[in-house]
């Protein structure tokens, strides 16, 4: 009997042991992590520690971050020194599963100390209603950087039912609504391997069809990549598919975009609209071109199963000739060595191009930053957020994707009253993996970049410290250095210094005036139908691109159209039309 008891005891202990990791699911944001604590104590920041006695670690729920964990490196050190605070980034993008993390955390009643999320479709309204956000209305006037954007605060007030300020919009700007928010390159555009293009004699490209022929000629002339793999014109990936197949983006080249609408492509002025499934819409036209490209053997057969990372590696290897976005091809292939050798992705326009570009908005963007209702030390958190909107904060924090110049003294300095990149800056910003000087902490420049991926102020705005844009690529001193073999070859042919200059000169930009309209909630039924339809649309789109022949393509299109219509597609379109009407009115008002 005794032995039996012992066995039961052991069994129960084993069961407890297996359960104990579950107990670890508790919120562990307090300063309990010994490793992090020692890391913090070696940085000898004083200004932060003197005003803020104890070191805190705050949870930042950040829907656009692509890194999960504690912010480290030089940016982490700046925040630690200034605010005696560490940022523990919680990233749904890394965790996966879309909105699930947001939903489960909000069901638990605490999203985080800082929350960065969208505000459209009733999101901000509901998050505030559920009591997850701190009311900032009375505090905000004490913060001079935050109160410098009154229109942005007006906008967030209008989004909630009680008219209070729960959040601050991102990408606020002081520029006019009809100024493009893009820097030297637009967000979308046809970018091709310039060296291969010149090697085949730079034939004129008048249409997308010409583009396919050019790519075919390039493939024939350069059948092998740098590492000897087979080359292709296009390579697609499914990771970013949403309402539509993400890679079918031709609409953006002709001034249309899904901007708050689900299935209605809206022109930049808001007047013309296309339902994506219409046979003549730019979306279906894109699919037709992609289908045609596949028939011509220009599409990488791995497209159907690969992810972004695999595809990116192919661009780095020079396996792909066409890039849908400048930052993809150029980011992967235009290294300093390649550019010196004249190799790299450059803008190659065809006629009638009208590239969609968002205008600057004084009320900012629907992506907002907020303080959690259960935040510890909300005043210190607000000090931090206010700093993010200060010139110094924008310089340091927006370096990840929007190209701001970095902290003064590290990457740039003032020389004869003008901002110029330091030697370290030139190397680090062109992608070299070099360690920051010990004064700035440890690790490389790239590892220490702010992983928040939050653009508080538009980086094309003027930095009062330099009287130049925050974005260093727009500085004269930088552009003067922009003279590698690749750059000069392109500039000579196009007669412009940058892509943006060329687009403006040739009237090829279609700017959607920046405005304060954020689409309101359209109801669970429309949302549900929309979710069902998008699954069908994305699924059939992929099949259409890889269809065996024209008749299969046509029958898939028919299947897509009848199925989504049957599911109630028209209800979503009706809701989209309303959104587009509001958008049009807001854009018209903004451009006056």
């Amino acid at each position: 009997m005794k032995k039996f008891n012992k066995q039961i005891l052991i069994g129960l202990l084993a069961a407890l042991c297996t359960l104990s990791p579950l107990a670890g699911c508790k919120n562990s944001s307090a300063v309990s992590n010994p490793a992090a604590q020692t890391a913090a104590s070696d940085s000898t920041g004083t200004s932060g520690s003197s005003k803020y006695k104890d070191t805190i670690q705050i949870d930042v729920f950040d829907t656009q971050a692509n890194y999960q964990g504690v912010q480290s490196g030089w940016f982490g050190k700046i925040v630690k020194d200034k605010f005696n605070m560490r940022l523990n980034i919680i990233a749904p993008n890394v965790a996966g599963g879309g909105d699930n993390l947001f939903n489960t955390r909000s069901a638990a009643g605490n999203l985080g100390d800082i929350i960065m999320t969208g505000s459209e479709n009733g999101r901000l309204l509901n998050t505030a209603k559920a009591g997850l956000l701190l009311d900032l209305t009375d505090k905000i006037k004490n913060y001079k950087n935050l109160s410098a954007y009154p229109k942005a605060l007006e906008m967030v007030k209008s989004l909630v039912s009680d008219g209070k300020i729960y959040a601050i919009p991102s990408k606020v700007s002081k520029q006019s609504a009809t100024t493009s928010s893009d820097c030297n390159d637009p967000t979308y555009g046809p970018y091709i391997r310039w060296d291969c293009y010149t090697a085949i004699g730079s034939p004129e490209i008048n249409s997308m069809d010409d583009m396919l022929n050019v790519l075919k000629a390039m493939q024939q002339k350069f059948p092998k990549s740098d590492s000897g793999k087979k080359t292709y014109g296009f390579s697609f990936f499914k990771d970013w598919d949403g309402n539509i197949m993400n890679n079918a983006q031709m609409s953006n080249l002709y001034g249309y975009d899904l901007n708050g609408t689900r299935f209605l492509l809206v022109s930049s002025d808001g007047k013309s609209r296309q339902s994506v499934i219409d046979e003549n819409s730019y979306y279906i036209t894109s699919l037709k071109y992609m289908f045609k490209a596949n028939q011509m053997g220009l599409v990488d057969p791995d497209s159907t199963t690969q992810n972004y990372d695999t595809m990116f590696a192919k661009y780095q290897d020079g396996q792909i000739f066409y890039s849908l976005w400048p930052w993809l091809g150029q980011g992967a292939y235009n290294t300093t060595e390649h550019k010196k050798a004249g190799k790299g992705f450059m803008f190659a326009p065809f006629k009638n191009l009208k590239i969609y570009s968002n205008g600057c908005s004084q009320s900012g963007n629907g992506y907002v930053i907020a303080v959690g209702s259960k935040a510890k030390d909300p005043d210190r958190i607000l000090d931090f957020i206010d700093w993010l909107y200060s010139p110094e904060g924008v310089e340091s924090s927006c370096t990840q994707t929007t190209g701001s110049c970095g902290p003064k003294g590290l990457t740039w300095e003032m020389k004869d009253g003008k901002a110029v990149l330091t030697d370290f800056g030139k190397k680090a910003l062109s992608g070299a993996a070099i360690d920051v000087p010990s004064k700035w902490g440890t690790g490389t420049w790239k590892d220490g970049i702010s992983a928040l991926n939050y653009t508080a102020v538009l980086t094309t705005d003027t930095d009062p410290n330099t009287n130049l844009p925050y974005n260093y690529t727009m500085w004269d001193s930088y552009l003067a250095d922009n003279n590698t073999m690749l750059d000069t070859s392109w500039q000579k042919k196009m007669g412009a210094k940058t892509t943006m200059e060329y687009l403006k000169k040739n009237n090829m930009l279609s700017i959607a005036p920046g405005n304060s309209y954020i689409p309101e909630a359209s109801g669970t039924e429309v949302d549900t139908i929309c979710n069902q339809c998008k699954a069908i649309i994305v699924q059939d789109s992929w099949k259409m691109v890889f269809a065996k022949n024209q008749s299969e393509f046509d029958s898939l299109l028919k299947h897509m159209q009848t199925t989504v219509k049957g599911l109630g597609y028209d209800k979503v379109i009706a809701s989209d039309q309303k959104i587009a009407d509001n958008l049009q009115a807001a854009r018209e008002a903004a451009s006056k």
Binding site: G97, G98, D99, N100, F102, N103, S106, A107, L111, G122, N126, T127, K129, A130, L132, K238, P301, D302, T304, T305, A521, T524, E525, D527, T528, N531, Q532, A535, V538, Q539, D540, S541, W542, K543, F546, T563, K565, G566, L567, G568
Partner: protein
């Protein structure tokens, strides 16, 4: 007399104490059952609300049968649902059709007399069961993707000019899913039969041998009848779980190209609910699943009563 009734009272008391002890023993399991099987039923309430996170359920409007009507009053919705049911029934059906395979495998394995060979075959076939589907897919991906081993070897040997799309095509989806499932589960499924093989009385074999039965005779007349009760119990269990044919296998293998034939009920509920955030609708859908499952179980039970004369629940 008095003495007698006192001892009776004592016995009753003792009996009560024993029952009480017995109840205490079973109590933890009752609590677990309640927590994991009945408490979640509270979640069914979500099917009757317009639930939009991050709002609490109490902040969302009550909508009655709206989501059930949404599912069953629209022709296209019904067609989509039927397509999903077709896939579910097809794959579960194929699973049941191939359910004798582990039994046959166990029998043949048992016929191997070389001990080390028998042991190593058994170990090698059981191992895949412990590999998660995610890893199975990564193996499948490195073998069969367009730049995978099979295509690369085929192309370099000049057997094929274009890579064959194994994973991203809708050809023979059900069959290939069945084969992956068999590869993973065959050895594991045989374990139960190997155990019950050991339980068959050796005297029966000796008697049969005396009667002149050969090797196949022994299998046919003794081994298989000896295993059939086990087979039937497992079959009944798998019929009751007909609609729950798992999610992970189909989830890792699904893509735009094979969705038409791979989307089973569990995957559909997952895609709707967790994938797209339509919690109310997918709750309604999974309620329907419970209803159909109960109906199936009752039916199987009735069939069992008629054919075998005993019920299984």
């Amino acid at each position: 007399m008095q003495h007698h009734s006192a001892s009776k009272g004592k016995a009753v008391k003792k009996n009560k104490w024993i029952s009480y002890k017995m109840f205490l023993l079973i109590l933890p399991f009752l609590i677990l059952l309640f927590i994991f099987s009945y408490l979640p039923l509270y979640g069914w309430t979500y099917a009757f609300f317009d639930y939009t996170p991050p709002l609490k359920l109490s902040q969302c409007p009550y909508v009655g049968w709206k989501w059930f009507k949404f599912l069953f009053l629209n022709k296209t919705q019904v067609m989509e649902f039927l397509k999903v049911m077709r896939n579910t029934f097809a794959m579960s059906g194929l699973g049941i059709l191939t359910s004798p395979l582990p039994m046959l495998f166990a029998i043949f394995l048992n016929e191997i007399h070389c001990r080390w060979l028998k042991k190593s075959v058994q170990t090698l076939t059981t191992l895949p069961n412990f590999i998660s589907w995610v890893l199975v897919y990564s193996v499948a991906f490195s073998l069969f993707s367009s730049s995978g081993m099979v295509n690369t070897v085929g192309q370099s040997m000049g057997l094929i000019s274009q890579p064959i799309h194994f994973l991203d095509s809708d050809n023979h989806t059900w069959l290939s899913m069945l084969l992956w499932g068999l590869w993973k589960g065959l050895g594991w499924g045989a374990i139960m039969y190997l155990a019950s093989l050991a339980g068959i009385d050796q005297e029966l074999y000796e008697a049969a041998k005396v009667d002149g039965a050969g090797r196949f005779g022994l299998i046919w007349h003794i081994t298989i009848p000896g295993l059939l009760p086990t087979y039937f119990v497992l079959l009944m269990l798998s019929v009751a779980g007909f609609l729950s044919n798992g999610l992970d296998q189909y989830y890792v293998f699904h893509n735009s190209f094979n969705m038409e034939h791979i989307q089973v009920l569990d995957l559909y509920v997952y895609n709707l609910g967790l994938g797209n955030g339509n919690y109310a609708l997918s709750t309604a859908l999974s309620m329907m699943k419970s209803v159909v499952s109960v109906v199936l179980l009752v039916t199987v039970n009735a069939i069992s009563k008629i054919t075998r004369g005993e019920s299984i629940v």
